[in-house]
């Protein structure tokens, strides 16, 4: 046993673990397809708007409601703006809002769920009854109410989208923590001196994340749809900033005469949701060492 060996050993371990997870992920074909689609999408909404040569917000009344052409691949809207550019810029808002809002609600849910699930008792009781009350209000209605109360704007919209989701994530996390709570390895961790925080977040949590991961990727999709609904009824992202839901809202007036207005934003939403779901499934399988083959 040489010193050199003991120094290099940890590096090997880290690499091989990450590598293994990556290998398992890559084996899952649909997950890889999801990842590729999402990567293309992200690339497009970040770089795309600079390449189209149009502004997403500048009104050009002379070229309003033009059918798709070589100049405007997906036509123009009722204010003469290029639909493609607006879709790409709108993606920044939609995905940004969706991801941030999901991070907030999943983060809240994971913390609350882990604590309630692991500690149990009165704390669990009080938190869960409070969440029962929140969950008794229909999800979208709750989001609308919060959004209406807070007002419009990027940050407030994210908050409105996030708050409603915390209850669901808490419940899911709690039940999956409760499933591992009585496993002996948690007791073993206590026996070797891990405190409760280490036990909950270092031991129990990683073993209960599988259902959460799928639900989180799905959550981003749900939030994008939620944001679309908010914008559709005039809350959420405000004009002239583009957003997929708001674009659908505008497009619906012209659904008979200029149907191309809703096709592109609709497709964008569908593709994003699909790729996120595919990726989530693959990620869950890859993170579980037991599902190696």
């Amino acid at each position: 046993m040489t010193v050199a060996k003991s120094v290099t050993a940890p590096k090997i371990k880290k690499q091989s673990q990450a590598k293994e997870i990556f290998k398992r992920f890559v084996k899952n074909r649909s997950a890889v397809i999801g990842m590729i689609i999402l990567a293309i999408l992200l690339f497009a909404i970040i770089i795309g708007p600079y390449l189209t040569g149009y502004s997403a917000t500048k009104i050009d009344i002379r070229s309003r409601l033009q059918f798709p052409s070589a100049k405007h691949w997906f036509g123009t809207d009722d204010n003469g703006r290029d639909v493609l550019t607006r879709c790409l810029v709108g993606g920044r808002w939609s995905l940004g809002c969706g991801i941030l809002a999901t991070i907030i609600s999943a983060g809240g849910g994971i913390i609350l769920g882990s604590l309630t699930g692991y500690l149990g008792g009165k704390f669990d009781m009080v938190v869960m009854r409070f969440l029962d009350i929140i969950q008794s209000i229909p999800g979208l209605l709750l989001t609308i109410v919060i959004s209406a109360a807070l007002g419009t704007g990027f940050d407030k919209t994210i908050l409105a989208l996030a708050l409603g989701g915390i209850a669901g994530y808490t419940r899911m996390m709690r039940s999956s923590i409760m499933r591992v709570r009585d496993e002996e390895f948690l007791e073993a961790a206590e026996a070797v001196g891990c405190n409760s925080v280490q036990r909950i977040f270092g031991q129990a949590l990683p073993n209960s994340m599988a259902p959460m991961i799928v639900s989180i990727t799905q959550g981003v999709a749900d939030r994008i749809l939620g944001l679309a609904s908010l914008s559709y009824i005039g809350l959420g992202i405000q004009p002239p900033d583009p957003e997929w839901g708001a674009m659908l809202n505008v497009g619906k007036q012209y659904i008979r005469t200029y149907p191309y207005l809703i096709i592109l934003p609709g497709i964008m939403i569908a593709i994003t949701v699909l790729s996120l779901n595919l990726m989530g499934d693959g990620l869950r399988d890859a993170l579980d060492p037991k599902l190696k083959d």
Partner: protein, 317 residues
């Protein structure tokens, strides 16, 4: 010299139907470098006893003296320090290992939390511990589910040894293993004891295993100690009616000496709010009025303690 002394240890759990007396007034002492076997059937409180002693579960009442020090009421910090001296090996080599930790990560957990080692030292120590328990270095990065039960149990042993303890509670460490693997693990535990002077509390329901590894044996029934004595004494002259029935019930791989089995009637009585009397009385063939009184653990023969009011009468002593 005794390393561990337990006096009137009690552990009750609250249940909707009343107090469950998991461990009730248990008194015993374990000598340094020796093994105390604790035997009894499922639900007799033997695992709870082990966990309560090493402070994995809070006690209801009683006193624990370890290495001359009263460890009954400890602060959080002291209790964590105690983990350097008292460790536990669990029964189930499947659920007692975190499925997401590699072998090395599991063994390093105590090195990190208890010994505060740096990375390089930890790696060197992991090598040493894996050699010590007979785990090949190539399993360093394996996950528990990739290994068989015997190797998994070796990981559990290495994890306990990492803290460098004096006293280890072995909670049914071989019950989940096949016979040939079981022998490997038992031999390993005994080798480690010889090498490091470890003191074990060996909890099991397997009488043959406990005979093999223990210096002294305590028999538990529904939370109480019914008999405790040096191993050979207990097997040669069991005095308590329950111990006798227990020993006679074990199927022996010997076809020439068919055993005269004492088959007990009835089922275990409930440990929830039991009466003061002998808890075995309901199944005991010799039950009388006097059994409804509280039974004291008394030294009947030298070093041989029994809690039965009729022990003299039944054994002609």
């Amino acid at each position: 010299m005794s390393l561990l002394e337990i006096k009137d240890l009690k552990k009750y759990f609250s249940t909707p139907r009343g107090q469950l007396h998991a461990v009730d007034d248990v008194t015993m002492s374990i000598n340094a470098g020796e093994t105390m076997g604790v035997v009894g059937e499922s639900g007799c409180g033997k695992s709870t006893l082990g966990r309560t002693i090493i402070n994995l579960q809070p006690k209801t009442a009683g006193q624990v003296i370890f290495d001359g020090r009263d460890i009954t009421n400890l602060s959080k910090r002291e209790s964590k320090n105690l983990r350097n001296e008292m460790q536990i090996i669990f029964q189930d080599p499947y659920s007692s290992l975190n499925p997401r930790y590699t072998v090395a990560q599991t063994i390093q957990m105590p090195l990190k939390t208890l010994k505060h080692m740096n990375k390089a030292d930890m790696e060197a120590e992991t090598d040493r511990l894996m050699d010590m328990v007979g785990l090949d270095q190539r399993f360093r990065l394996s996950y528990p589910h990739e290994l068989d039960g015997g190797r998994r149990q070796r990981i559990g042993i290495a994890r306990a040894l990492a803290a460098n303890p004096k006293f280890i509670v072995c909670d049914e460490p071989v019950s989940a293993l096949d016979v040939s693997i079981q022998a490997q693990i038992l031999n390993l535990l005994m080798d480690l004891q010889d090498k490091f002077g470890l003191t074990y509390m060996f909890i099991t329901h397997n009488m043959a295993v406990v005979r093999h590894i223990s210096h002294n044996i305590s028999v538990m029934y529904l939370g109480q100690l019914v008999e405790t004595s040096p191993t050979d004494d207990l097997f040669e002259h069991p005095l308590h009616p329950y111990t006798k029935a227990l020993l006679s019930a074990i199927p022996v791989p010997d076809i020439d000496h068919p055993l005269k089995r004492i088959v007990l009637q009835g089922e275990l009585t409930s440990p929830i709010e039991p009466g003061v009397g002998c808890r075995f009385a309901a199944r005991c063939p010799y039950q009388t009025e006097a059994c409804n009184e509280k039974q004291e653990l008394r030294e009947v023969l030298p070093n041989h303690f029994v809690s039965c009011c009729k022990v003299h009468e039944l054994n002609n002593i």
